[in-house]
């Protein structure tokens, strides 16, 4: 067990190193020149060169990457070109807002997906099942920004129940969390349904029914726990998906998280921030998968026995 964990951790570290290398190459190989951006529109060739030297951009690429990695080893993500602040500080200031959004969004997603999936499986091939499956397809096909604008239009602009944008009170979090959660719930409902359908046909479920347990107890106590495993793996993958999705949702709702930070940085070619946010997102993906793998044996004794 300890060895497997060690192997997984080493693999995760390698992936992160790879992500850092690929992002670095991409950002420095692209035609956009941050030095020219910072020096401003009226800059002379000499002042651009000075900025380039000051930022260390005139060093050979491998040396720049090595410096970046050395900084990373000390927990230093570099300095923002524009804001002149440590990237680590900027991200740390924005991360809590994104985490709140992520936890609420995944909460909505799992709660809704589980309920609908179980209901669909129990009422298999009935009207309810068909409706849930159709809705889940709509959820997969709807672009996040349109759902975000639609919710904003109905609940904030027309009904006035919730604030248009901003951050701070629970009311501000409702629409962003719903946007992230409603769409994802479709996938969860599909997964839960197919896992439940599979489990409900097993002999032990028939036995449970035969010995006279109530339908609710059979479904919730006997069938559901066995259908949960794929869901846990999915939450792990989802953490990564969310890091991309927050860019859109934070942009529409003016939510001050790292998605906004990244989007502004992209427009200003503020390379260190882009690098930092990409790395944090990749870290979230890797950690999500790792946690899902670690949780699996806790949930399923059969995996523990292997």
């Amino acid at each position: 067990m300890a060895l497997t964990l060690l192997k997984r951790l080493a693999g995760a570290a390698l992936i992160l190193l790879g992500v850092a290398a690929v992002t670095f190459l991409l950002l420095y190989g692209l035609p956009a020149d941050p030095a020219a951006m910072i020096a401003g529109r009226s800059a002379t060739a000499a002042s651009i060169a000075a900025v380039r030297h000051q930022l260390g951009l005139d060093l050979p690429l491998p040396e720049q990457f090595w410096r970046y990695l050395a900084g990373l080893a000390h927990g230093d993500l570099g300095r923002s070109y524009i804001q002149r602040t440590a990237v680590g500080t900027l991200i740390a200031a924005r991360l809590p807002a994104t985490l709140v959004l992520m936890v609420c969004g995944i909460g909505v997603e799992v709660a809704l997906g589980l309920t609908l999936g179980v209901l669909a499986a129990v009422r298999r091939d009935r009207a309810l099942d068909r409706a849930v499956m159709t809705l889940s397809f709509v959820g997969v096909s709807a672009p996040q920004f349109i759902v975000a604008l639609l919710l904003l239009y109905v609940f904030a602009a027309q009904l006035g129940w919730l604030p248009m944008s901003g951050y701070g009170t629970p009311a501000h979090a409702v629409l962003p969390a719903l946007t992230l959660g409603l769409l994802g719930a479709g996938w969860y409902a599909r997964m839960v349904r197919s896992a439940m359908v599979d489990v409900l046909d097993r002999d032990y479920v028939r036995t449970a029914r035969a010995k006279g347990l109530s339908a609710g107890r059979v479904v919730l106590r006997h069938a559901l726990p066995n259908a949960l495993l794929p869901i846990v793996a999915m939450i792990g993958i989802d953490v990564g998906q969310f890091m991309g999705g927050v860019v859109v949702v934070e942009a529409v709702y003016g939510w001050p998280g790292i998605g906004q930070l990244a989007f502004q940085a992209i427009q200003q070619v503020d390379v260190p921030i882009i690098m930092g946010v990409t790395l944090v997102s990749a870290l979230a993906v890797v950690l999500g998968n790792l946690l899902a793998d670690l949780a699996a044996p806790l949930l399923d004794p059969r995996i523990r026995a292997r």
């Binding site: 992936i15 992160l16 790879g18 992500v19 690929v22 991409l26 950002l27 692209l30 035609p31 956009a32 159709t134 397809f137 709509v138 997969v140 096909s141 709807a142 672009p143 996040q144 920004f145 349109i146 604008l149 639609l150 904003l152 239009y153 602009a157 990564g240 998906q241 890091m243 991309g244 999705g245 860019v247 859109v248 942009a251 990244a262 989007f263 992209i266 427009q267 070619v269 882009i274 946010v277 990409t278 997102s281 990749a282 993906v285 890797v286």
Partner: protein
């Protein structure tokens, strides 16, 4: 082929989805003839006296946008952009994914391991973030957006094709073929690729939905197809600040995007049921 089409048409949802796709394709091809106005035309009566977009009326069926251009015409021409990117970007993504997956699955060993580790790496990238970064820094245009989407979307196809090729490469009929002296080109071209065709068709369809959504999202964020060339995403990007006073400008293109993506997803799903040999003969 005909039987397959008939089987698909029997499901009402799939038949409806095919109809939607056919409509979108016709609209895209015939946009210059169908559109009531040129898409960039800004007629003097295209805005209300105080400069606001016109709501839908008899002359402008879906109203006009913030510059007084006819929304219906822009949507029709936008269909060209979205479909073109959907086909090109997704075609390229499926091709890259097939090439990487087949190579890794067939050769295995060092080559396979290296290719699949790289695929794992790409999976750890938040796809949307990567696409935004690339599109923004490369000075977005139609072809750059298509390229970016292809570079982000091939990963899933590669994984699935890899698993399938691994399974195929170990089967007896491949071994028999090899013992008869067939070379790599013959085995891959004549025996492995035909088996992968269903996967390519299914992903070629499902992927269009993903691509249309990604293009719309990039354009909505302002890093996709650039105005004045209309795309469903950038129509919303241009008018989102007006969405309270002129909601049709946001929700008409939104509905079109949703319907198109939903239709490609439904057809792709039906194709998967139809082409999956394990499912065949069951229902």
């Amino acid at each position: 082929m005909i039987a397959a089409l008939k089987a698909m048409l029997r499901r009402p949802s799939t038949a409806l989805a095919l109809l939607v796709i056919a409509t979108v394709v016709v609209c895209a091809l015939a946009a210059p003839w169908l559109a009531p106005f040129p898409p960039d035309d800004q007629p003097f009566d295209g805005l209300s006296p105080d400069g606001a977009p016109l709501p839908p009326d008899a002359q402008h069926w879906l109203g006009t946008d913030t510059l007084g251009r006819d929304l219906l015409s822009r949507l029709l021409f936008g269909a060209r952009t979205s479909l073109l990117i959907g086909l090109v970007a997704n075609g390229a993504a499926v091709a890259i994914g097939m090439a990487v997956g087949t190579a890794a699955g067939y050769w295995g060993g060092f080559v396979g391991a290296t290719l699949m580790r790289f695929t794992d790496l790409m999976m750890a990238f938040p796809a949307l973030l990567l696409a935004i970064v690339l599109a923004a820094l490369l000075h977005p245009s139609l072809w750059i957006v298509a390229l970016v989407i292809a570079l982000v979307n091939w990963v899933q196809v590669a994984r699935i094709v890899y698993t399938e090729t691994r399974g195929l490469a170990e089967r007896d009929f491949i071994l028999a073929e090899r013992s008869l002296g067939a070379g790599t080109a013959r085995i891959v071209g004549r025996h492995i690729l035909p088996h992968l065709l269903p996967t390519a068709i299914v992903w070629g369809t499902l992927g269009i939905a993903t691509t249309v959504l990604l293009e719309a999202t990039l354009s909505f964020l302002g890093v996709g197809v650039q105005p004045p060339m209309p795309s469903w995403g950038n129509i919303i990007f241009e008018s989102q600040s007006y969405f309270q006073s002129a909601p049709w400008l946001v929700f008409c293109p939104g509905a079109v995007i949703l319907l198109t993506a939903l239709s490609f997803n439904l057809v792709g799903d039906a194709l998967r049921d139809l082409l999956d040999p394990l499912q065949r003969g069951r229902g």
